[in-house]
């Protein structure tokens, strides 16, 4: 009887252990999402981060150059439909646009015969943190103190003291001026990925979307229009399509692949693999970009994750956020192109 009990307990115990029920301190996707909710509040139906956004559509015209590096169908010469979403970092879906918020760009490439690819990019060149734990600590340290309306400086000082990589990354981020809007911003994939071509050769890479629209430096926030960044994008798209060049940066042996706080040397080869054209914009609605999880690990054959620990964690937490909001009642988003003056 004792053996029987021990065997059953063993199976149930190991089930509970791998499920994380025996380690309440473990940083799980669920606790991560709880962290976002603690810092930004719960806004049912919206993403737990990058909550404010607008949907865009268009196509990617591959020039065929990328096939040298990856066998992914998206790099074959020709046109691939895309669905995208521009967003602002942070978990408040109705926050006012401002120069402080990092801008995000989620993109889904949909080749006709499979090989779907999703990427979630931002307009900063490196991540401020290198690990999921660092991200979580930074998130909690940046929580607004209701008494002062600002994060607790002591908490941020303590966080930076414990994370010299963040101090270094912030220097890199601040070294380059930000652009005036979404349409003339460079968006970076940040993490390193691995491209594998038809011959089986694997190369570490990063990617960026480099705008065709001319750079203009960022100005102060528009006090009259709390959606001024999104409204400028909508107005820009009404004047005509907006384009970006997709630039692949090719890593060399020895370049760090597991630390998104580090840049590679400027001398690395940059390969222009095609042009992204956006020509439509719409408010978030059922069935469009609102209902897509821009999970950075939805990758086609020919693109694989690197050993960067942020990647699996991003995938897990995006999925957690998606699952939570999927079952919640939705309300209209802040950005509604139809209401923006013609």
């Amino acid at each position: 009887m004792a053996i029987l009990g021990a065997l059953v307990l063993c199976v149930v115990g190991s089930f509970a252990y791998v499920g994380g029920w025996l380690s309440p301190g473990l940083l799980t996707p669920g606790r991560f999402a709880d962290g976002f909710q603690e810092v930004f509040g719960v806004h049912p139906g919206f993403r737990r981060n990058h909550a404010k956004g607008v949907c865009v559509g268009g196509y990617f015209e591959s020039n065929g150059q990328g096939a040298r590096l990856s066998k992914a169908s998206v790099f074959e010469p020709g046109r691939v439909a895309v669905t995208g979403r521009f967003s602002l970092a942070g978990g408040q879906p109705f926050a006012a646009d401002g120069p402080a918020a990092v801008r995000g760009f989620g993109l889904r490439f949909e080749p006709r015969h499979g090989g779907q690819w999703r990427t979630a990019m931002v307009d900063i060149p490196v991540f401020a943190v290198g690990t999921p734990e660092g991200f979580y600590d930074q998130l909690l340290a940046s929580k607004i103190d209701p008494a002062t309306g600002k994060p607790d400086p002591a908490k941020m000082t303590a966080f930076l003291a414990a994370h010299p990589e963040t101090v270094r990354a912030i220097t890199i981020i601040k070294a380059k001026p930000f652009s005036s809007g979404f349409a003339n911003a460079t968006f970076n994939g940040l993490n390193v990925f691995r491209f594998t071509n038809a011959a089986g050769d694997t190369t570490p890479v990063r990617w960026s979307m480099v705008p065709v629209d001319a750079f203009a430096p960022e100005g102060p926030a528009d006090a009259q229009d709390k959606n001024y960044l999104f409204d400028a994008l909508i107005a820009r798209l009404r004047r005509g399509p907006v384009q970006w060049h997709m630039i692949i940066t090719i890593g060399q042996p020895g370049d760090p692949t597991d630390d998104a706080t580090l840049l590679w040397p400027d001398t690395r080869e940059h390969l222009d693999v095609g042009t992204l054209t956006l020509d439509s914009v719409a408010a978030e609605a059922p069935g469009n970009c609102r209902d897509i999880n821009f999970d950075p690990l939805v990758l086609p054959d020919g693109i694989a994750p690197s050993d960067d620990p942020l990647l699996s964690a991003r995938s897990a937490v995006y999925s957690q956020s998606f699952t939570r909001r999927a079952g919640e009642t939705k309300e209209p988003s802040a950005v509604t192109p139809a209401e923006v003056g013609q």
Binding site: I3, G20, L27, T28, G114, S315, A316, S319, A326
Partner: protein, 165 residues
């Protein structure tokens, strides 16, 4: 294999570092189970399992019979729910390399939410049924030593002098 899936399932939803690897295994393994459970069910219909052994009282036979049926139903339903929920969320259903399955349901977040919850509930129910079944088999094998395990495995666990054929 099925038990492995339950373990992978609970591990991946709690994991940051191994999430992607575990999901990448969970998806093709689920589809493999769907195929195998169909083959197994057809085989069971063609070659009925041995009769229950004499030492099992009637209520235990009913429990054993329905727990087997329930496990078959769940083994069949779980991969379909998984496939369906990924379809409703419009995730590509990649098995390995370029091999992927088509979506079987329309793109709907609410549908995804319901199926995602069902996937978890059925998984726990399956684990509970498995534990009950497992405990019953262990009880017969270790305590009663009546050779019930011979009904389950293709090889003979006890000699014929203890459990004559």
């Amino acid at each position: 294999m099925v038990l492995t899936m339950l373990f992978i399932g609970v591990a991946m939803v709690a994991s940051l570092a191994d999430y992607h690897l575990l999901v990448s295994i969970h998806r093709p393994l689920g589809i493999a189970i769907l195929i195998l459970v169909i083959i197994r069910y057809v085989n069971r219909k063609l070659n009925p399992p041995p009769e229950f052994i004499a030492t099992m009282p009637p209520e235990e036979r009913v429990a054993a019979h329905y727990s087997e049926l329930l496990m078959y139903a769940m083994m069949f339903a779980m991969p379909l729910i998984g496939w369906g929920m990924l379809s409703a969320a419009r995730y590509p259903i990649v098995l390995f390399g370029p091999i992927h399955l088509p979506p079987i349901l329309p793109h709907s977040l609410m549908l995804y939410a319901v199926l995602r919850k069902t996937h978890t509930i059925v998984a726990y129910l399956f684990f509970a049924t498995f534990i009950a079944h497992f405990s019953g088999v262990l009880f017969h094998t270790l305590i009663m030593r009546d050779g019930l395990i011979d009904r389950m495995v293709p090889w003979r666990v006890r000699g014929p002098e203890i459990n004559p054929p």
